[in-house]
C-alpha cells in the first residue's frame, strides 16, 4: 500500500500543479477571474502531498520493503538503520523525489506566506512555479518512478554504494537540494515581475529573503559536501573541480551575485534587468546541474545510474524553462526602464563590479565544465582540471576580494574615495606586508600567497564598516553582512594556507617504523583485521606525537564492503587548532629486509585547513542573521502600518469627515 499511496500522492500533486498553473494564468490575465483564487490553495495542498510522498518512500526504505524496485536495488536489510534512511536519496529516483518535494514545499511556503506583492504579479509567479513543478512531476512519474514494484519481491537488496554509507549523505544532499530548489522561488518571482512589469524595490524586498535562505542552504550544502569528500574519498583534497561539484558551485555563484544585486534594487531601485537576469540564471544553473549529473553526458565521480532517455527528458524541460525564460527576457527586458543611475565610486558601483566578477567566475566554471562536452562532439576526450580553473577564476576572484574589502565602506549613489583613504591605505599596507613576509620565508606559489594576503586584509576590512558606529544601533542585517564577509576571509585563509603549506609523505612502512612529517612523528604500531556490520577492514594503529606533546593513537582503515563489493579507505584525522593531520592506509606493499609486512602509508599535515569549513559556517551564520534582521524590520513595518491604519479608521469613525490621503 505504501508505494501505491506515494504514487497517488504524486499524481494528485501533478494535477494540483496543473490547477495552480491555470489559475495563475487566469489571475494574470484578469483581476476578476474567478478561478484565480485556487492558485494559492493548490500550491499549499501540493506541498503537503509531495512531502507526504517523500515520507512514504522514506518509510519504505526504513522497513526495507524489498517489493519496491528502488529499495531492492539500493538498500540491504543488514545495513545500519541510519543509512537505510539516508539511502532514500542516495539514488536517482529518490533524490529526484526529494527535489520535487522541496520544490512543492517552497512553492507552498511562497503561496502561504507572501502577501506583499500586487495580486497580478503573485498570480503570474504562482503560475510559473506551477508550470515548473509540473515538468518535474512528469519527469518523476513517467521516467523515474520511485515507487515501481518488482513483479516478485527480491530475496535481498543489493546494497548502497559504500562511499555513500556515511553521515555525510544525511546532511549534504538534502541541504544542497533545499538550496537548489529554493532558487526556483527566485526564478518564479523574477518571471512574475518581468511578465507584469513590476520590477520594483518592493518586489526586491519580497525576493530577498528567499534568495538569502536558498543561498544559506547552498553554502552549507557545498561546505558539507566538500568536507565529506575530503575525509571520505581519502585523497586529501577538498575541491576537485569535478563536473558535479561545479554544478553546485555555479548556482551558488549566481545566487551570491543575485543576493547582492537584489539588495541594490531594494535599496536604490537600480539594476532592474540585471537582477531579473540573475534570478533566471540562478535556478537555470540548478536545473543545468541536474541535467549534467543525471544524463551521463559528462563523466564524474558522482555518477547516478545514467540513462540517455532521462537525459533527453530533462533536456526538454531545460528547453522549456530556461529557453522559455530567456525568450521572455529577450522580449520583455527592454520594456523595463533601467532604474536609478549612480557613479562608479559608490556602494552600487562596488556591488556591480563584484557582480560582474562573480558572473565572470561563473562563466569560467561553466565553460570549463562544458568544454569536454564540446570537444567530445569532435571525438577528442579532454579533462579540464585545476590548472585551468584555479588561475582562470583567480584572475577575477582577486580583484573581487579587493573590492569586497572596501565596498561596504562606500556610500550609496556617489562617494569620494578620499573619504576612506585611511582604510584604503591600511588594507593596502596589510596586503603588501603579508606578501613581503611570506616571500621572505620561502618559495611558495603566487596564488596561495595572494590568497593569504587578501584573506587577512578582508578579515580586517569586514569589520571596518562598524568603525565609529554605535554598535547597539547597527542594524541586524549589517551584522549579518559583516559576519558573512568575515567568513569568506576565514575560508579563503584556510584554502590559501592548505595550498601553500601542506606537507605530504608517502612511504611503505613496517610495524615499528617511524615517519616524520612537519614536526609530527608517526609510528606504525600494528595492522590488524577488523570487521564492521557490512564490511571487513585492515586497520592500522598509529602512535602520533608532535614535539614533546602527548602521544595520540590514530586508526585509519582500508575497508572492503561486500554489498556491493568495493574497497574504500577510511582516513584518520587529528584536528589541532592550527591544522589537521590526515592519514590514509593503502595496500600491503611487500616485505622489508627483516621479513616484516610493509604497508603503504600516506600522511599529510595541512595547516589551518579546517578554517575552510569554519569560514563556511560563519558565512551561513551571517546569512541567517541577515534573514532575521530583514524579517524583524519587515514585521516592525507591518505592525506600524497596521497601527496607522487602525488610527485612520478610528479617526474616520470619530470625525466622520474626509481624512486626507497619507503622503507616501
Amino acid at each position: 500500500m505504501i508505494a501505491e499511496l506515494g504514487l497517488a500522492a504524486l499524481w494528485l500533486s501533478a494535477a494540483l500543479a496543473v490547477l495552480q498553473m491555470v489559475a495563475g494564468a487566469m489571475g494574470y490575465r484578469s483581476d476578476k477571474a474567478s478561478l484565480a483564487i485556487y492558485a494559492r490553495p493548490a500550491a499549499v495542498v501540493q506541498a503537503f502531498l509531495a512531502t507526504l510522498a517523500f515520507f512514504l518512500l522514506l518509510y519504505a526504505f526504513a522497513i526495507t520493503d524489498l517489493s519496491i524496485k528502488l529499495v531492492a536495488t539500493n538498500s540491504h536489510s543488514m545495513k545500519p538503520f541510519v543509512y537505510k534512511l539516508t539511502g532514500t536519496w542516495g539514488n536517482h529516483e529518490g533524490s529526484m523525489l526529494l527535489w520535487v518535494a522541496v520544490l512543492a514545499l517552497s512553492g507552498g511556503l511562497l503561496a502561504g506566506l507572501e502577501r506583499r506583492l500586487p495580486e497580478r504579479t503573485m498570480s503570474a509567479t504562482l503560475g510559473v512555479q506551477g508550470f515548473v513543478a509540473l515538468g518535474f512531476y512528469a519527469f518523476l512519474i513517467l521516467s523515474s518512478n520511485p515507487f515501481e514494484r518488482l513483479p516478485v519481491p527480491a530475496p535481498e537488496g543489493s546494497g548502497l554504494n559504500p562511499l555513500l554509507q556515511d553521515i555525510g549523505l544525511a546532511i549534504h544532499p538534502p541541504t544542497l537540494y533545499i538550496g537548489y530548489v529554493g532558487l526556483s522561488v527566485a526564478f518564479s518571482l523574477a518571471m512574475g515581475a518581468l511578465i507584469t512589469k513590476q520590477v520594483t524595490p518592493d518586489f526586491a524586498k519580497v525576493m530577498r529573503p528567499w534568495v538569502l535562505a536558498a543561498w544559506v542552504f547552498l553554502t552549507f550544502g557545498i561546505g558539507a559536501g566538500s568536507y565529506w569528500a575530503y575525509y571520505e574519498l581519502g585523497w586529501g583534497g577538498w575541491w576537485f573541480w569535478d563536473p558535479v561539484e561545479n554544478a553546485s558551485l555555479m548556482p551558488w555563484l549566481a545566487a551570491t551575485a543575485l543576493l547582492h544585486s537584489v539588495s541594490v534594487l531594494a535599496a536604490r531601485d537600480a539594476l532592474r534587468t540585471w537582477t531579473i537576469m540573475l534570478g533566471v540564471v540562478a535556478f537555470s544553473m540548478s536545473m543545468l546541474g541536474t541535467f549534467l549529473v543525471r544524463s551521463g553526458v559528462l563523466t564524474s565521480v558522482h555518477a547516478f545510474a545514467v540513462d540517455p532517455e532521462r537525459g533527453t527528458f530533462i533536456l526538454v524541460l531545460l528547453g522549456l524553462y530556461i529557453g522559455g525564460a530567456l525568450a521572455v527576457f529577450a522580449l520583455r527586458a527592454s520594456t523595463i526602464s533601467e532604474g536609478k543611475r549612480f557613479s562608479a565610486t559608490s556602494r552600487e558601483g562596488a556591488l556591480v563590479f563584484n557582480n560582474v566578477m562573480l558572473s565572470a567566475i561563473l562563466a569560467i566554471v561553466l565553460l570549463g565544465t562544458l568544454y569536454p562536452l564540446l570537444t567530445e562532439a569532435f571525438d577528442v576526450r579532454v579533462s579540464v582540471g585545476p590548472p585551468y580553473f584555479n588561475p582562470a577564476s583567480a584572475i577575477f576572484a582577486i580583484p573581487m576580494f579587493a573590492v569586497m574589502a572596501v565596498g561596504p565602506l562606500l556610500r550609496w549613489k556617489d562617494d569620494n574615495p578620499r573619504r576612506i583613504q585611511f582604510e584604503l591605505a591600511l588594507l593596502g599596507a596589510v596586503v603588501i606586508a603579508i606578501i613581503a613576509v611570506v616571500a621572505i620565508f620561502g618559495e611558495y606559489p603566487v596564488l596561495p600567497i595572494l590568497g593569504l594576503a587578501f584573506a587577512i586584509a578582508l578579515a580586517i576590512g569586514a569589520f571596518l564598516p562598524l568603525r565609529g558606529r554605535n554598535l547597539k544601533r547597527v542594524p541586524t542585517a549589517t551584522w549579518g553582512m559583516v559576519l558573512a564577509h568575515f567568513g569568506v576571509a576565514v575560508s579563503l585563509f584556510g584554502m590559501a594556507s592548505e595550498s601553500a603549506f601542506t606537507s605530504e609523505r608517502l612511504a611503505a612502512v613496517a610495524p615499528g617504523d617511524i615517519e616524520e612529517v612537519a614536526g609530527w612523528s608517526v609510528e606504525l604500531e600494528s595492522v590488524s583485521p577488523v570487521a564492521g556490520p557490512n564490511w571487513t577492514a585492515f586497520e592500522a594503529r598509529l602512535n602520533v606525537s608532535r614535539g614533546d606533546g602527548e602521544t595520540v593513537e590514530m586508526r585509519p582503515q582500508n575497508r572492503n564492503f561486500w554489498a556491493p563489493p568495493q574497497a574504500t579507505s577510511e582516513s584518520a584525522l587529528l584536528t589541532r587548532w592550527d591544522g589537521q593531520l590526515y592519514i590514509v592506509i593503502g595496500d600491503a606493499a611487500g616485505v622489508d629486509e627483516a621479513g616484516n609486512q610493509r604497508w603503504q602509508l600516506r600522511v599529510w599535515w595541512k595547516p589551518f585547513v579546517t578554517f575552510i569549513w569554519y569560514g563556511g559556517l560563519i558565512i551561513v551564520l551571517g546569512g541567517i542573521i541577515s534573514i532575521v534582521g530583514r524579517m524583524q524590520v519587515d514585521l516592525k513595518r507591518r505592525r506600524f502600518a497596521a497601527k496607522a491604519k487602525q488610527r485612520r479608521d478610528e479617526e474616520a469613525e470619530l470625525g466622520g469627515g474626509v481624512v486626507p490621503e497619507p503622503a507616501e
Partner: protein, 174 residues
Amino acid sequence: MRLVYLVPLALFLFFAGLAGYMLTQPKDQNVPSQMIEQPLPDFALEPALEGMPGASRSDFVGGEPRLLNIWASWCLPCIAEAPHLERLKEEGVEIVGVAVRDTPQAVEGFLSRHGNPYSRIGSDDISELMLEIGASGVPETYVIDAEGNIRYQHIGDIRESDVPMLLEKLEEVR
C-alpha cells in the same frame, strides 16, 4: 527589443543543441579492467560447495581457453544469465565459477534452482580476487587463454546475443 537581450538565449540554444547531439551519441560507461592482456593474478580459493573443487590460478593453465565467471547467489542478474551459461557449457566451454561473499547453503540452493554450469567453484569471501582482477561488480565474465592470461572482460550479465560473441572470443585466443 534590444539585440543584447538575445545573447543569453542564443548561448543557451547553442548549449541545448550540443547537449542534444551528445545525448544521441552512444557512450561506453563501463570501466574496463586494467588487467586485460595481463596474466591472471595468483590465487587459490577454497571450494564454495562441498563435493566440488575450488579454483586457483593453476586450473587455468594448459588445455583449452576457459571462462571465469564471477557471480553470487544473492545477485539478481546472475539468475538471468544462468541459462546462457548453460548454453555455453553445452557448446563444450569449461566455466570456472567464483562465488563472491556467499555461503555454501545459498550456493547450493541457487545451483539446484538455476542449474550448475561450472566445472569448479571457488569461494571469494572478501572479494579478494574480484578486486585483484579489476571486476567492478557482479556478474562479470573473463575469457582466459590456455596460458592463464586475461584476454577479454564482459561486464554485466551474459545475454542471449552475447553467447556467439563469447564463443568467437574463445576461438580467437585458442
